[in-house]
Structure formats: structure tokens, C-alpha cells
Amino acid sequence: MRRKALLVATLMLAGLIASAPAALAQTDCTKVVPPSPWGPNDQTGATNRVTPAVTKAAAAEIKDGKVVVMSYPLTDGIPLFGTRFSKTILTATTLAPGGALGENQLTYMEDTWLSQSHVGTHLDGMGHIGRKDCYFNQIAMGKFITQNNMTKLGLEHLKSFATRGVIVDMVKVYQAAGKFKTNAACKKPCIEKGTVITKADIEAGLKMYNVTLREGDILIVHTGWGNLFEQYPAQNAVYNSGEPGIGKEAAAWLVSQKIVAVGSDTWGVEVIPGEDPKEAFIVHNILLTDAGIHIIENVRTDLMAAEADQTKRATFFFSMTVPKAVGLTGNFVAIEGIR
């Protein structure tokens, strides 16, 4: 009897050992995602390119100190992607009669902010988009996630975004090329959703203001689609239904230009519907997963586009601070372009 029990136990143990590799099976990320050019331990990505020299050179863009707002208000009613939400609760108890503190009658207020991080004008971090369980720099994220956050690739690893911004005005490019198609819901000129912005389009936008990209730049693409965001909540459904944006070829070219980030006045920066109906947000994979280049969504671009048009200068100092939010995949940001 004891021998039989021992045999059963041995067989069960053998079964467990045999099934363990299957249970722990992970993707071999070296076959799915390229390595980071900044080494096997890199969790930073493209902000490695923002060196003191890059920031110093960008500072030369500040000529008259004019600050241009490049983010949208974060408030109820703005278009949110999917089931995302952002809600604030005000704590104002000391304003109640008798609630003030001390002889100086101090009162205070605070907010509770219940929000998902990818709302409003926001930055996609390295941990936002992967291929299977593989993320930037071949990191198999299955091993580095907890119930609350990531233990690798969080925003705390990012360096500065104090660099040169370059805006390309796709509305003007498309108008000049005679291929401009708008959406009836836009109150200002906007490029229709589904329009693939190509490498040639971006080059034309750069040429329009006689500028070339250099390593460490942040490219901002003005499509006019953001006008639908500005009309919140009236056009939220139209805004979210698709967008003009960069295609795969343009994304690959931007990777070769060694930029830090691409932003646009759309909710996803890339063209939606995508070029291949069987691919999901492939430009996110090309930029973030494979190249560590950030994506900045819902950027307010119209003011800077107008500024560039007026002054015939497309460059500015890109001022954006990203909280050192440990283990987060992204966060809302405020951006100012300084001229």
C-alpha cells in the first residue's frame, strides 16, 4: 500500500515537472523585438538622445520668449478612448461653517483624481505597447508586472524631453499638393480620417519651412483633426471613429531620423483605419516597441501651426515634463512650445 502511494506521488511529481515548462512558457523576445541601441539594460529609450548638447542647441530656438500652448484641457466631456475615464473629486471640508483651522482661519482644498493615465494630451511610455508579451528592448513583460504597475519600463526611467520641437503642417501640405480632403464635422480645415501621411508628406512639410530633422528632435504633426477634440463633447464620436495619421513607411523613416517622439492632434498619431485591416496599431509597434520612440497623443497643434505659418519657422523649444510615475505606462502631460 505504501509502495503504491509512493508510486502515485512520484508519478504526480513527474507530471508536474513535465508540465512546468508549458506553464511557464514565454515568448523568446529576442526573436520578436529588436534590442535597444542603448544596451541590454536600457529602460529609457529615445530620451537617451536628449543630451546636454541637444538641449543647449534646442535652447537656441527661444528667440522672443513667446510660449505657445500645445495641450488640451483635461476635463469632463473630452473625447476619451474606449472606456477610459478621468474624474476629480474636490475635498473642501474646511470651507464648511466652523471648518476653518486656527485663529488664522486657514482653509484648504485638495483633489482626488481618479483617472486613467492615457487621457487628454498624454505620453505613451515604453511599457504601453508590445508584441505578444515582448516590450521595448526585448523585455518579457510577463515577469515584470504586478497588480498595480510595471517593475520595468516605467516612466521613472525616462530622461528629459527638453529638446527641439519641429511642426509639420499636413493641412498646408495637402492643400498645396491638391489632395486635401476634409471632414464635414471639422470647423477648421482638417484632413479626413484614414488618410495615410507618408514619408514624402512629412518631407514636404519640412521643406515648406526649410527645416530638416536632426537627432533628438520631437516631431509634431498637425492634421487639423484636433478641431474635433476642441468641440467636445459634440464631436467625440467622430473624433474617436478614426483619424488621419502616419503610416508604416513614414514611421520607419522617422525611426531612421533618430527622433525622440512623434506627437499629433489625434488620439493615436497613426492612421486609423490602418493600412492593413489585419494589423492593430502597427505604427505604435514600430515606434514604441521596436525603437523606443515615444508617441504623444491629443497634442494641441493648431496654435503652433498658425505660429509657424505666420513666422515661416517650424521649430521651437519643446517644454514638457513627465511625472516620475513609477511603473506607469504613460501619463497626461502639459506641453508648451517656446519660441
Binding site: F81, G82, T83, G194, V196, A237, N240, S241, G242, I272, P273, G274, E275, D276, P277, K278, E279, A280, F281
Partner: protein, 350 residues
């Protein structure tokens, strides 16, 4: 350098000849390079697409897809090609179809894609285009001597039937089981009968002795509740494998089983995979990764919303003078909760 390694100097006459001919060759090479650069800039083509009908609410091919979805797929797919599309609506009207082709001939389009279900009209359209030396590509109903892109209704039906019979064998081996083919049997469209034939073949694939009932909705999905309800009442304690000929009937069949308290007795496969059964990541439609336990096992994809992606590459091959198969069929496949987001990645997550 030793003289033995030096190439012999050209004679005086040859030197003069080279002096004269070199600039000439250089100019020629430059011209050739310019010409090849022009060739490298791919030529743009104008392609006409004459749709079956774009009447709002009218669905095509016994599925839930509309003509608008077909047209939009062409517009999206054209982004990949050097193509300018001209859209026509045949309105299921022979006169309109012939007027469209005359208009396209006047425009000197490079290729005409004809989607019309009237063979007689298609023959006349083919003649006119042949006379105008414009290539033609047909969708679903042949144009004589033209390549055809078409659904394979029998294959689609078979995929559904096989999935159901496999499910029956796997889950209900010892239980009494019947098969049901449900849909608009009265449709004059021969395609539904092909679909029924395929479904019947598929249902018998793993259950050769399966008794199959046919329930005719006569195109009215509201009839499904009554038809399925009666069938369930007359077959208590019996499992039911339902091959629905369209997605609306599949959803209605599920409701009927639910109303009868017999959800656990049914398995259903639809046809089409239109937006009524799948959607965005938060839509929670019937075929959804979060709904893996549904008795709607899946639906067979007809991809009318991707026709442009399938048809325009064939059109491009024709325009480039490459060989094209006389008949290309839709690659139907079963879409389930397990693969719906791979096959149809959501992007419109409103």
C-alpha cells in the same frame, strides 16, 4: 608600375573616337537614367468600381453587409496602390449599370470592376468594355471572359456545418441531436441554396446519421423565434445544432433558445461576420474574446467589408499585364471568440 601591367594606349584615331563618343554615351546614359527614374515612379491608374447597390439598409449576398461597406473597403484599400477610384452605383438596375459603363468609357478609365448580379447585363457590359479596350473584373457574378472574384457559398456553408458537427461529437456524443439549417430559403438568390448544401454536407461530416430540419425565415428574422420555438417544443431533451445562413438569424436563434430555457441544448454558427456579431474592444458583441462561453460558436467570414483589399491587387496585376486566375474565391474561415480580435483587430473603440 611595370609596363607589362599598363593597358595599351589607344591609337590616335581611337583616342579621337573616344573623345567624340564619350560625351554622347554620357548624354545617352543620362537620358536612360532619367527615363528609368520616370518608370520607377509608378504609373497611376484610374479604376472604376460599379457597386451592386448602395441603397441604405439593403444587405448583400444574404449577409448583413451593405453596399456602403463594400465601397468603403475599396476606398481604404486603394491607399496602398497608385489608383484613383471612380465609384458607380449599379442600383441593381440594368439601365443604370449600362449607363455607368458608358460614363466610365467616356472617362477613359483603365479598368472596370463590375459588381452586378444580372448575367445578361454583365454580358452587355463586357461587350461595351471590350469594344472600348478596357479591361473588366467581375465580382460574384461572371462577366464573360473576365476574371471573377467570388464568394464560395458552398465552402462557407461547409465550414459552418463541420464546426457544428465537430462540436456535437465532442460535447453531445450520447445525447439525441438534430441539425437545423435556418435562413431565407425562399430567396431567389441561388447562393443561399449553395450555402444550405454546404452546411448540410458539413453537418453530416462527423454525424452522418444526423437528421436535419430546414427552417425557412422567408427573409424575416422575426420569424426565427416562432420557427425555432416550435422545433424546440417538438424535440424536448434534444440537442440542436443550428447552421444559420446569416448572422441576424444566428442571433435570433440564440434568443429563441434563451426564451425556451434551452440555451444549454443549442450550438449555433452564423454566416457573414458583419458588425452585428463583432465589434470593438468594449462593444461586447456576440463574438468577443470575453464571451467564449456563448452558444454562438462563431460565424463564417464573408469579408464583404474587405473586398477592396482582395480585389484591387487582382486589378493591379491585370493593369500590369500579369497573369490573373480566371476565378479567385474568398478565403472563408470560421471566426470565433478565440480569433475575432486577430482577424478583426478593433480600432474604433468608441
Amino acid at each position: 608600375m611595370g609596363s607589362a601591367l599598363r593597358p595599351p594606349a589607344p591609337r590616335r584615331g581611337r583616342r579621337r573616337f573616344f573623345l567624340w563618343i564619350s560625351p554622347g554615351w554620357g548624354l545617352l546614359l543620362l537620358l536612360l537614367a532619367g527615363a528609368s527614374a520616370l518608370v520607377a515612379q509608378e504609373r497611376r491608374y484610374t479604376i472604376a468600381f460599379a457597386n451592386l447597390t448602395e441603397e441604405p439598409g439593403v444587405t448583400l449576398e444574404g449577409t448583413g453587409f451593405t453596399g456602403r461597406e463594400v465601397r468603403e473597403s475599396f476606398a481604404l484599400a486603394a491607399r496602398r496602390h497608385p489608383i484613383d477610384l471612380v465609384f458607380y452605383d449599379n442600383q441593381r438596375d440594368p439601365k443604370k449599370a449600362l449607363a455607368n459603363v458608358e460614363e466610365a468609357i467616356g472617362r477613359k478609365v483603365h479598368l472596370y470592376i463590375q459588381y452586378c448580379d444580372d448575367p445578361v447585363t454583365n454580358a452587355r457590359v463586357g461587350e461595351r468594355l471590350r469594344a472600348a479596350k478596357i479591361g473588366v473584373l467581375a465580382i460574384n457574378t461572371p462577366v464573360p471572359d473576365a476574371p471573377l472574384y467570388t464568394l464560395d457559398n458552398r465552402a462557407a456553408g461547409r465550414i459552418a456545418g463541420e464546426a457544428l458537427s465537430e462540436y456535437g461529437v465532442k460535447n453531445w456524443r450520447s445525447a439525441p441531436t438534430i441539425g437545423v439549417v435556418l435562413g431565407n430559403m425562399a430567396s431567389r438568390d441561388h447562393r443561399v441554396s449553395e450555402r444550405v448544401q454546404g452546411a448540410t454536407e458539413g453537418l453530416k461530416r462527423h454525424l452522418p446519421a444526423l437528421k436535419i430540419s430546414t427552417l425557412d425565415t422567408q427573409g424575416n428574422a422575426a420569424q426565427v423565434a416562432t420557427l425555432v420555438g416550435k422545433l424546440l417544443a417538438s424535440h424536448p431533451a434534444t440537442k440542436v445544432l443550428i447552421a444559420a445562413m446569416d448572422d441576424a438569424s444566428a442571433l435570433a436563434a440564440k434568443s429563441a433558445l434563451d426564451s425556451a430555457g434551452r440555451l444549454h441544448d443549442g450550438a449555433i454558427v452564423g454566416q457573414g461576420v458583419d458588425r452585428s456579431v463583432h465589434g470593438g474592444i468594449n462593444d461586447r458583441k456576440e463574438i468577443d474574446p470575453a464571451n467564449r462561453g456563448s452558444i454562438v460558436l462563431g460565424s463564417v467570414a464573408f469579408y464583404l467589408d474587405r473586398y477592396g483589399y482582395d480585389v484591387l491587387p487582382i486589378a493591379m496585376r491585370m493593369l500590369r499585364g500579369e497573369a490573373v486566375a480566371p476565378r479567385t474565391v474568398t478565403a472563408h474561415r470560421l471566426i470565433t471568440a478565440a480569433n475575432v480580435f486577430i482577424e478583426y483587430p478593433p480600432y474604433d473603440m468608441n
